[in-house]
Symmetry: C2
Subunit: 513 residues, 2 copies
């Protein structure tokens, strides 16, 4: 028997087996009234209320519903409600500028836009058929409690469930279409390889707009795990929540764990969660010193993963192997900083060019209305990660050694260096520009612009940074600008970024930047 693998499987099991168990604990301090702490039974009711509301608006199957929000119970609910009714959820990065959000809404063709109260003013001019501010307005004007929603007419595991926009090699973000099957397989393998179970307590330290919080909202529900919403990353606040809720599991970029380590240094008494918490880290490869500190100073188990929005996201996992248990802490940490072993069902290979290719059911269906880009990234039946790497013959572990695409990962956010270059280049005083990632203790990488001024033109570092902040999200602006006489190029005129990056990364033993 074949039945479609859909997101419903996760919520159905939560409602059946954990109806009276704690479900989602909303962020207490936020501009909208928090959703009262709810069971999984209540989560199901609220999901159906959203669906009945969308029915009443006349939003059809296949239509896109964009949600621009910090982490919140409502965003989590919509990640179920929208795809489970055959519609497509478009979670949008709330840190984007209004023009960038407008692009995502327009390119996805969303007929409904739901925004966090905090970004209400910033996106006031964005056009969509229906527009709501999450909170009191959605509760009174959109959601319909107790009304049975129209069921999805023909559930299909290959239907698109979500579109997550990601910065890639081009200036404009592309919409990554993930199917129900993509998300289902990612959820099961993620749960399997992290050994998630009903006794876990999950804290959402990861923004849910990032590849649907790596699929955690789904699989944690399916396993009956209490989910605690965290609206904004703050090291001390994370420690307080770990303590208050008995948190056992979290995901995030290295910047999150750096913030926690900083907070732990000033924490009074024993840091909570020792020998109980396990964290999953991805984004920029973490310095092995950080991994060692997580284990020593926090006593938390560290798992490194590697993936992309295009891969739902998990391709590889790396947890200390039994045979490495006896190694010196530093050596163990170094091994843990590798991307890891492919998840069950993931095939990886390294192309002649050194690029890492992947084949798996977690690989995206395509980029939304970008057939050419889709064909390019899936050329030859393999997904092209854009990252350079190697696979260890002894233990099959992948190491990412070079990011081929011009993406800088700063504080867990992907930034297209080309997008930043375009912005800076639009300044009349700039003749040439190259944007690179340079190491940063707090953010993993930070953005540096190398600028060649136009003849007789003058502009200061501060001016260029301010100029960017007016035009693109703050985190995409460079944090430093260096003026140069020229930018080295190849004979064919290509900028050799690796050469530009080299002096900043020297002695770090790894070429990722």
């Amino acid at each position: 028997m074949r039945v479609p693998m859909t997101i419903s499987d996760f919520l159905d099991r939560a409602e059946l087996g954990f109806a009276a168990s704690p479900g989602v604990i909303d962020e207490p301090s936020q501009p909208a009234a928090p959703v009262p702490a709810s069971t999984y039974g209540r989560l199901g009711e609220r999901v159906r209320a959203w669906q009945a509301g969308l029915d009443a608006l006349g939003v059809g199957e296949g239509e896109r519903v964009a949600v621009v929000s910090h982490n919140s119970a409502r965003l989590l609910e919509l990640l179920f409600a929208v795809p489970m009714s055959g519609r497509i959820c478009v979670p949008v990065n709330f840190r984007l500028k209004a023009e960038e959000i407008e692009y995502v809404v327009r390119q996805s063709g969303a007929s409904v836009v739901l925004v966090d109260p905090e970004v209400r003013d910033a996106v006031a001019d964005i056009k969509a058929e229906h527009r709501f501010v999450l909170g009191e307005q959605t509760e009174s004007e959109l959601m319909r409690f107790g009304v049975e929603p129209r069921p999805w007419s023909s559930p299909d595991e290959d239907a698109t469930a979500t579109i997550n926009y990601t910065s890639g090699t081009t200036a404009r973000p592309k919409g990554v279409q993930l199917t129900h099957r993509n998300i289902w397989v990612n959820g099961l393998t993620f749960g399997l390889h992290t050994r998630a179970w009903e006794r876990d307590v999950y804290l959402h330290t990861l923004p849910m707009f990032h590849c649907n919080g790596w699929g955690m909202p789904f699989v944690m529900a399916g396993l009956g795990v209490k989910q605690v919403v965290l609206r904004k990353v703050d090291g001390a606040e994370i420690l307080r929540r770990v303590d208050e809720h008995g948190v056992t599991m979290m995901c995030g970029a290295p910047a999150v764990w750096n913030a926690v380590l900083d907070a732990a240094a000033g924490w009074e008494g024993e840091v909570p969660g020792r020998d109980r918490v396990r964290i999953v880290c991805a984004g920029a490869p973490p310095p092995s010193r950080m991994i060692q500190r997580v284990e020593e100073e926090l006593g938390w188990e560290f798992t490194q993963i590697y993936g992309l929005t295009e891969t739902s996201p998990v391709l590889t996992f790396n947890r200390t192997r039994p045979e490495d248990e006896g190694l010196p802490a530093q050596e163990r940490a170094r091994k843990l900083s590798r991307a890891g072993l492919p998840a069950l069902g993931v095939k990886l290979r390294v192309a002649g060019s050194g690029e890492v290719l992947a084949r798996s059911n977690v690989v995206l269906d395509g980029y939304w209305e970008k057939p050419q880009e889709t064909a390019a990234v899936l050329e030859g039946g393999w997904f092209h990660t854009g990252d350079g790497g190697s696979i260890d013959e002894a233990d099959g572990h992948l190491t990412i050694s070079d990011r081929k695409k011009d993406v800088i990962i700063t504080g867990g956010e992907n930034v297209s260096s080309i997008e930043v270059e375009d912005t800076i280049f639009s300044h009349p005083a700039v003749a040439e520009v190259a944007v690179i990632g340079v190491p940063d203790a707090k953010w993993g990488e930070t953005i540096k612009a190398l600028v060649v001024l136009a003849e007789a033109a003058e502009v200061s570092e501060t001016e260029i940074i301010a100029y960017c902040k007016q035009r693109i999200a703050g985190y995409k602006a460079p944090t430093s600008v260096e003026f140069r006489d020229a930018i080295p190029r190849t004979a064919t005129g290509k900028v050799q970024k690796f050469k530009l990056r080299e002096p900043y990364w020297e002695g770090r033993g790894r070429g990722v930047n």
Copy 2:
């Protein structure tokens, strides 16, 4: 991207990530030379040697390869080698009589039959195009080491991977076709819900011919878990292996755990595996007293599951819930004796008749060359388990209260009561017969025959038992015979088995029998 979910995914990951790790430890004492203790790298080589051997024999894709064997490394290898090359593996119960094995080989149309040396003589007359005794003969005459096998021409997740014969409502066993997708999903959910990981050590206390050892050979390989083969269930031997290999996980019917409990009572020193081993139990619902003893006397964690060969097999899991942790041991054990909560992706409902129905990707594709039986069991798009039960509204847990099909589960073996009735009825002295399961401390259930003699005929209990043992597998023969004047029937002439069973099961608080 869609890639087929196939059994290869499990071995591929084992070979990639655990090439040098312990893979399969064969049974040391057996008639054939044991396969030398091997790594997962070596397992891959041996699997390809089997495949190249089948290539050389000219066994095509889709052809059936029957394996009649006790647990052995070779059987485990064939569970990979045959389906991974697009062929179909038919693991056969080695306890069946020659005629029964002959039926399975004939009905499945197997072109290759591989038999354990121990059953060599018993099945000497079975006809098939190719016939090998597992061990020295297969190593020298069939397997081709170092020869690259022909790859499966078009891997398909919906292709049949295995056919497992099961006794059902009819006298003749039916071949349950499980697809690669069935097995893949069963493997992932089984691993997920039992929290299996690379640090586990798995002991094969369950016969691998039983629904492919519940899929354990696959998922344990995929997770890099050391697998220890046990040829024959023996309580003391199980304890010795648990000690010797640091075993952490086992599966089996209640009879297995009863044997272990018996052995533990006479064990010198501390029983091995306390607070380390977790066991998964299925088959006849276990007495809650047994569960309590497993936890108290062995200190092993107990998980109950429910499923059928037709469901790959796992439908539900039951592990003590956090909120039940504080209950008295007896009450906790009682709750654990329920079938449990559906696995992720499994939908259950109870029909008006009280029968438990299931929908899931673990449900069989069909019965081999039995379109009518297939249509009947999948009527209305739901799999009909044949078992009666109820679902607890509070926590979604299934309880099996009545086995609708005339199946007796004795020592983990399914026995069709109709088959036994047919056999007894063929005795000239028998006018009428009804076969039922009655409670048994050791086997869970044991087989009882109620017999009405033909006029003036005479036959003893011992004679009837001996008569059966000559015709069907020994475990299918009744262990007791009662002579009656009549067998009660309904107005329409149907035997009311539940009425026959009633007096034997009184006071057991559960109607399963």
